[in-house]
Symmetry: D2
Subunit: 351 residues, 4 copies
């Protein structure tokens, strides 16, 4: 099952930002060997043609997408594919006996009808939606142990859910009061070309987009509803910030009591005890996105306000690491029963 | 009173970003002549030493701060000075018979005790706080006609208040539900040096700061309270975005009815009819900051959400123009009985 | 010939950055009225659909490209079209009796064979190549008076030629020693989408491109050769800098004597006397691109080096203004016999 | 001599960008343990106060600068101190029996008089200038084996020298024709505050500075002179680019023959054979700075021009890694007789 004792991994979608970040991060994983980098659009070409930064690091031609061939070359597949593609591909990979960590959004929603409403594609077969374990590691990590199929959380949901769940679970915030003002760097839009990601249109600019229409909304609500034990509906806005990496969710909620910042710090530190990738900042301190850049951390801080009875929660991640490739590897670590930090000891790159 | 029929203007604080923007904008004002550029720190030096972009445009040495001398050279003074400085200087300028448009925050709050609580300086004398007309042009423009002293609104309050007032006045939003998530470019922090504005700390980074502690909060609440007729308290967060210019206020409020985006568009277009610097976007469209950059526009758009009963209002300005120098000139136009657009016909610079 | 005494202008290519900058700049021209904005790709749509910053400023649907119709609506046409398109369109516009300022590169080279070698398109008819006046205003301005057809210089050639010509003409620099290291903001690449202009690929990055292969090389050499009176060949490198606007040409040449920086300052100030858009900086001072941003200035500075016998000349422009739309208007002013600064009194936008 | 078999390292200047990058990179070095982080300005404070990205990664208070104490805690010291400070400190550290890798420029020039001319400080004692081994690893790596004191090359010299030396050594380029147009990200200016590094002054801007006056000039010339066997003098310009990390040296030289790009590729690949941190690109390809960001690579590409007989060489590094902290670790590896890549297996962070 392994190459020289290592787990063999294939990456589908190796020419997107999520795929290429998997390659970067897996270079230093002691137990995983990347044995196939796969791209439907550029099969046959050396990967360094499109990503010269990999020159001399991974000398390999891109493979095509063929489940049977993949099964011959790999034990696990990361599918960093566009939504709609994974829906069709993942069942074939699972049938071929592969483990799968899916980075698309196709298997995150348990309700196929809801998927079709927000994603505008046909949903994957219900059996696979049910099989998929939603891999928000610090919350549902124990569900990942030993399974074959993980649906990796979205970037916005990761930052948002890690920032909200302890307070929601503790009953400290009002379920119907949650407002999420999220901001992302541009790599989150993918490597496809469009006027929306043209440098001159983004630089020196700040845009809001998809207000209350983003497909990450039902994903967030599905988890919050499970935690709260009743239907939770949120207001959710996304903004595009002129930077490459980073997501910040600034979250607002009415408090059910007179909690201080220190109370929140203690609640969250207790909740995340033993989970090294969540760093709860001290009272009065909120994190900036650069403080986690290039790493798998999610940093969280709080500001409570006695004047309004609200708490403001700030949660930041690197959208391509903790929001995609890093958490996918963390999930594989949990699937395999390894330490969740294995191969992910990246200090944030600062500045 | 005029040089060749023009009003003579002095600018105190000419070596800050607000002051130097006043110089840029006033170059094309047909009725105003800048007769003195003033800086306490660099008096005697040519202004182009610190601002080489003004080479050949304004060849003038910086003057010192002496109210009697200013009165001999100018009819009106723009005080683009730090908070605390204007508190002492403006009364002297008014005593010397000058008209004043003050760009500091020193005369915006009517309650001296509240000023001292948020600004941590001694308040100016109460008589001057009362004399100052709060110059939010599109809302209180008629109060400016003929007066001698305008307190120019802050940058965040300008974007925020123009975005909230029509809905609040119409009774469409709940007074106790207002949450303001504001984002600013770095020029808003001024030209002083600090680690906070170091390029390498800001670039590729997004920070929240002064959550619920920003001195613009009481300014916003003072006006909203007046409009609402009862005390309004807001939740207010500011963020620093890696760009030079631009403010976006993303604002959330619970609605008192089932209003559509088109309803909001019509309400706001009616409210701002005849005020060309506010551009209300069509239903489903929200503005980006670059779309007003370099100009005196405030652009506003809406997203309503039947699922949550909330409206999201997005309001953008150029923080140095509509949020400072441009609105100051607009106020002077109103003071003088001129068209408010006079000398302010700047098309946004795009890209 | 005019609307209310104004010259009527049409802009072909109104949905590119050059075209939309013409619209911005012409808003404040006292003698020109934009009567048609033209786009082959978006005809029929309101221009503000693609450029919301123009909302309320120019309310006009885009027209199609029809020379006869244009002749009915306009007196002069700015063709801000891709290379290859102007080659075919401009002769038709001239035949229709219109004045033309062409912003493409199609009519800059006098030698059709050289055009085809560098541009890889068929050259326009030789008669039109000969008719076109190369509109480098501060050097050949007198040739523009009264003509019907100007070929507007390229962005790199404008910064480069204005920086080299006085020294070359004076015989101070060796003809065979000229090396030009040029850097541009991304708007110079146009508004078309491609991986090359994807925000995440440009931001936090610096690239060299088209080394010794850029189509502006023969344009630069053609003019330098005319000035020098013998064939001049240059080494020319272009770089893409993560900013929207601005070109800097850093130029190196061996000196024919022991000239000081002050000598260069005096030589250039004498050469450009009476040409307000060229600002020659004092000895020891070189300009930065932001110091001309949004304006029609070209700023030039010098560093001489006795150790190597070389001079380093730094020349900066805003690539969309002096490098395109601004110089095009300046050329029209010269064609019409107006002051060359007419309608171009823009102070640089700083910061 | 070691902590659990590891070499103990102290970092002086831990609150600068070079020092904090040493901390990041050393986290993953299998044979080194950071036992002291030292700062004269912030001694006693937790390092995460100034660098929150290190929260939970290195929990340690900053130590003061005391050579005797350092000798008790460490085996090797990295001095990432300002020029002038190392001149005094390093001799004390060496006397105390420590190994030293000095990242300041104080020990790079062999001639004290030349040091004083360019650095404007008193030179260190001549004995130490002579003792210092100039650690340009891929060129002088064999000199580092077993020594106690390395002077780490400057950022600009590293990119420049690695790009020039093989051609110079082979006699392919004219010694008196070398022109270096260098560009750097802003982290190279250090973490100190000044108007020069204010975000709003750098963003959307490109500046040239210290033309022919940069203190890295004599360092470059000293090495080129040694390689060439006769005095080499260069023209050298530095530019500040609106990005955090990255240096590009674009270098121009007259060729002594009719060499092709492929000739250069082969010459350089042969010269750098067995040195994995230099990646020579294929013919016709030049590297961009992002392609080495966060890593210890130096990538080099070529463009030759038969028209002018010149070659253009493009060399890029991450200024804080290969230009400072990374090469310092590489030097320590060589001093200790370890593989030079040990602990430096960082894939570039892209995008």
């Amino acid at each position: 099952m392994t190459v020289e004792g290592k787990l063999r991994a294939a990456i589908v979608g190796s020419t997107g930002y999520g795929g290429v970040e998997l390659i970067r991060l897996l270079q230093n994983h002691p137990d995983i060997e990347v044995t196939s980098v796969i791209s439907s659009s550029s099969a046959g070409e050396p990967i360094e043609n499109g990503f010269p930064h990999l020159t001399g690091i991974i000398q390999r031609n891109l493979d095509g997408v063929d489940p049977a061939e993949i099964a011959g070359r790999a034990d696990v597949v990361f599918t960093a594919t566009p939504s709609g593609v994974s829906a069709k591909l993942v069942p074939q990979l699972l049938e071929a006996g592969l483990k799968v960590v899916d980075l698309s959004g196709d298997f995150r929603l348990k309700d196929g009808a809801e998927y079709e409403q927000w994603y505008k594609h046909p949903a994957p077969p219900q059996a696979y939606l049910e099989q998929a374990v939603y891999g928000l590691c610090e919350v549902f990590g124990e569900r990942a142990a030993g399974v074959d199929f993980i649906s990796n959380p979205g970037c916005y949901p990761t930052a948002t859910l890690l920032g909200l769940i302890p307070a929601l679970k503790a009953g400290w915030i009002k379920h119907d009061s949650i407002i999420i003002d999220a901001k992302s760097g541009v790599s989150g839009a993918g490597r496809g070309t469009s006027l929306m990601v043209h440098f001159a249109e983004i630089n020196e600019n700040l845009k809001a987009y998809k207000i209350n229409k983003h497909q990450h909304i039902p994903e967030i609500e599905q988890v919050l509803t499970e935690i709260a034990g009743e239907k939770v509906t949120v207001t959710f806005t996304t903004h595009l910030v002129p930077m490459n990496r980073g997501i910040m969710s600034t979250m607002y909620a009415g408090m059910n009591g007179n909690y201080s910042e220190q109370d929140f710090v203690e609640l969250y530190r207790e909740y995340y005890e033993g989970r090294p990738f969540v760093r709860v900042r001290g009272a009065g301190v909120v994190p900036a996105t650069k403080e986690v850049s290039g790493s798998n951390y999610c940093d969280i801080g709080f500001a409570t306000d006695a004047r309004t009875g609200r708490v403001t929660i700030v949660s930041v991640i690197d959208n391509i690491v903790k929001g995609a490739a890093g958490q996918a590897i963390q999930n594989l670590n949990l699937m395999m029963g390894w330490e969740e930090t294995r191969g992910l000891g990246y200090t944030p790159v600062y500045p």
